[in-house]
Structures are given as C-alpha cells and as structure tokens.
C-alpha cells in the first residue's frame, strides 16, 4: 500500500474560532498549519513551505498585504500559492491583493467551508 503525501495549506488567521473550523474541514484533504500573525506565517514559510497560503488581511501587527508582499519578494516562494480570504472586499482592496500577486481574493462570509475546500483544490490543480 502506498501512502500519498498530503499537500500543505497554511492558514494565516488571528480568529482562532475561524481558523479552527477551517482547519478541521481542510484537514480532511490537506495537511494544515496555522499562523495567528503575519510574522508567524513568514517564520513558518522560511522553514517548511506550504503549497498554498490562506491569508487574512486584518491581522495584528503586519497586515495581510504586507505578508503577501514579503512572500512574493522571496524567489524561494515562487511556487507558493496565495489566496486572500478576508471579510474586507472593497474594490480597491481586491485590486491591491491581485496587484501584489494573490491567486485569488475571496470574501470569507460569502463562502461555505466546502466552497473554500473547492477553491483551494482548484487553485492547486491549476498549478499541477
């Protein structure tokens, strides 16, 4: 019997209830890592690269846009996908996220957990 390695998804979210619910659902398909701050996310990325980062914008300390800028500035992260998952969804915020290189920008409240799993799957499949 062969064991397939699960791809890793890093959830960057300071709300522990949300990250817990999301992580529980994603863990059915992926290996899940958590970071409650941008700084913690970048430290994790330096040691163990995930396939995809689910990134909130409003974080304590460094905000999600700044985290995205750091991720994209490091060539070692060229194959790391970033999906912004935030409850901020103004046009200029979405445009900024895309401009900084996010694969997708989605509004948290509009998605079910199944939608998030589908979205992660579709972004990862595109790169396969």
């Amino acid at each position: 019997m062969t064991e397939t390695t699960k791809q890793k998804v890093l959830i960057v979210e300071d709300d522990t209830l949300l990250s817990g619910l999301l992580g529980r659902k994603l863990a059915q398909t992926y290996e899940v890592a958590y970071a409650p701050t941008g700084e913690a996310a970048l430290a994790l990325l330096a040691n163990d690269k995930p396939a995809l980062v689910l990134l909130d914008i409003l974080l304590p300390g460094m905000d999600g846009f700044e985290v995205l800028r750091h991720i994209k500035a490091d060539s070692k992260n060229a194959d790391v996908h970033v999906v912004i998952l935030s409850n901020l969804g103004e046009d200029e915020q979405v445009a900024k996220g895309k401009e900084l290189g996010a694969d997708r920008y989605v509004v948290k409240v509009s998605l079910t957990l199944d939608d998030v799993v589908d979205l992660v799957g579709s972004v990862l499949r595109k790169s396969a």
């Binding site: 709300d15 209830l17 949300l18 619910l21 999301l22 529980r24 659902k25 409850n87 901020l88 969804g89 103004e90 046009d91 200029e92 445009a95 509004v107 948290k108 409240v109 509009s110 079910t112 957990l113 199944d114």
Partner: protein
Amino acid sequence: VLIIGVFLLGSVTKEVRIQKELAKLTLDKAKSEFVTIAAHQLRTPLSAVRWSFGLLRTGSSLDNNDRDIASKGAQAADNMMYIVNDLLNVARMEHGTIQFDMADGDLRDVVRIATDVLNEAAKKKSISLRVSVPDTPVMTRFDQDKMVMVAENLVDNAIKYTPQGGSIAVELSTGEATARLRVTDTGIGISRGDSARLFERFFRSDRAKRMLPDGSGLGLYIVKTMVDGHKGTVRLEPAPQSGTIATVEIPLVHGPSSVSGTAVSGSSPQGILRT
C-alpha cells in the same frame, strides 16, 4: 433700500439652503460609513456562525432532528449574510465607491458562472433551471463581477419566489445593438401596481413578504444600479400565464453605444443590483 433688502434676503436664503444641503450630505456620508463599518463588523461573527452550522449539519455526530435544526440555523445565517452584503453594496453605491472595471468579454461566461452557483439551490426546490445561450460568443463590454451579481440576483430571486416543482428559463440572446438576458419563472409574479416600485430601496411587495418574510428589499435596487453602470436597462413584467419575466439589456461591444470604464453612485438610479 428695498432692492438691497430683497438682495440680502435672497443671499441669506441661498446661504441657509447651501448649509442645509451640506449638512444633509455630511449626514448621508456618515450614515453610509456607519453602515459600511457595521456590516464589516458583522461579517466575522457571521462567518463563524455559517461555518459552525456547516460543519455540524454535515458531521456524523448529530441525529436527524438535530441535523435539521443545524440546517435551519445555517439557512438563517445565509439569509443574514445576504442582508449584510446587500447593505454593504448599497452603502458603497451611495458612497460613490463602486468602480466599474470594464473589459471586453463573452456574456455567456456570466450566465455560466451565475447558473452554476445557483443550480444546487434550484435542485433543492425541485425547480427545473433551463439555460439557453447562443453558440457563438456574445461580446459586450462589462465588469464581470458586477454582471455576475446581476445575473445571480435575478436567478436567485426567481428561485426564491417560485414554488417547489416550478421552472425557470435563463436565456441569453443578441439583438441589433444589445445583448439581452432574460429570466422567466413560474413563481408568484408581480402585480402591475407594484412594477413601478420594484427597484426602490427596501421595497418588498405584499406577495413577496407573504412568501418570504425575511429579505432586505435591496436586491433589485442593486441590480438596477449595476445595470445602469453598464448603460443598460432592466425591467420586470408579469409572465403571460403566471410568474415573472426579468429582462436586462446592455449594449453589444460593437453596437452604437458601447460604454467604457465608469464609476457610479447609486443615490439616484435611473429606473433599474449585484452583491
């Protein structure tokens, strides 16, 4: 002296009127900003409620009765999400912060995205959702997210207000200068008397309130503002037998009046949403 007196009185009256207008504008802006902040603050706990009910109802730890309660809770949270999103959209429109990111594209993509999203909701009510699009691209200039919002709102309305087992037809076609999206349902229909008010903010017809007590009454207002931003038109009319026909028309890209990128404020829509 009389002439100077009349002149001064006129100036003072004008000044008072300007002050009142400014005060109203400031109040409108503050109101709109309050709604935006309140709606954003509601989104995070609402996400937690939706995701919690979502996990509960699909989990294996509940019996059928408890799962049914979780489903109803999820439905209520979904309704609240629609209302919060509608409020945010209206606040954006009235704040003039909605930008239309126009690009040439195929409207068939809009119909496909909107109907894919809502297919499951139609199935749950055993409603037949028939989609018909031309074989060739329907090229128009539009903001994809906003036109998806328009199509989703119209199809979602049709599903909400069509009883179990009904049918909905979504048809995309082209005329000489416009692309036409038509959504025809076998639902509760609209009365002639209500048709003029359907695009007003917060308006809900008695029939709509009887069938679905909850609702923001903002969906069609948003639809109209979004369609206006595309220099298009939208109308709702009773279907010949029963139900409603919603028709949106926007200029074809090579038509005589194709539009370019624009921003719109929804404070004074010309007679026609999106989320």
